[in-house]
Amino acid sequence: MKNQIVKTEGVLLGYRLTRRRLAIAVTLTCLLYLAGYYLAQHWTLSNFALAQLKFKPARPFRIQTQEPQSKPTQQIALSETAKPASSSFQSFTPPPTVSTPPPSVPSQETVTLNENPTLPSQLPASDLATRTVPSLSQNITATTSTNDSIFNLPSTLPSHAAEEILPASAEPVGNGIGAGLGNSSGFSDVGQLLNADLSDQLASPEGVVIRLSNEVLFDFDSYQLRDTAIPPI
């Protein structure tokens, strides 16, 4: 019966075991277990010890708070340097030190006053901007103005030109006598011409010129007389 059970188990395991082989296998298993346990307890590496696996406690980390200091700088520097080395708090930043001494005023220095102050010959640009440009002499303007024309005035005028009043374009322009008898826009006033005696002017070579504006007489780009053209004509 026992042999039949063993055979059945051996068939299930894929081996045909006998009682003797089964006893040998159990014995070897126990020996391997004991050998492993012994090595685990007594086998050590040459450069290794379990003491090295001890965990170090967490390092305390403190942040230096920035608090308003009412003390002078010099006292702070002294207090920082006077802190004992065995203190658990260590600042990561070097303690502030005063490198430059405060300015000192010599007590025996003499100051001389300049009783006749003079301006420098060359002023800075910011000062020159507020000053007027000196007028050029007439000789200089005569050489620079090469193109004398009524419509091309020289860029630099003589010094006395600033006092002259240039004729405005609204003033009557032209050689006609009638042109002078006009309104402020430079055109003729027919009513004024009617009241004036033009006998002498008619005999002149230029005659009497009656100047009328196209804006009064015509529309834009047109040669048809406007209604406003009837009164002056």
Binding site: F187, A203, I210, N214, Y223
Partner: protein, 90 residues
């Protein structure tokens, strides 16, 4: 204007049209001639204009204001001039 012409019936009359420098030269020339002619026609119809009248269009050839100026500055260039002149018989 018509009254002025009637006041001096012996005067010779010339009507001159002028334009500014804006636009084409030929166009301004034609426009100035047409405008001078329009003034002549009006005076001929509305006055006792008996003497021959010379109608001339100068275009932009005779500016009296700055020809490089703006439109406002060239207002005097856009004009019609009526010239009256008596002829002396020497």
């Amino acid at each position: 204007m018509a009254a002025l012409i009637e006041k001096y019936p012996q005067a010779q009359i010339s009507i001159e049209g002028h334009a500014d420098t804006f636009g084409d030269d030929a166009y301004n020339q034609t426009l100035s001639e047409q405008r001078a002619q329009a003034v002549h026609d009006f005076l001929r119809q509305n006055s006792s204009l008996a003497t021959p009248v010379q109608v001339i269009g100068y275009g932009e050839q005779r500016p009296i204001a700055n020809p490089q100026g703006s439109i406002e500055e060239q207002q005097l260039n856009r004009r019609v001039e009526i010239r009256l002149r008596t002829v002396t018989s020497d």
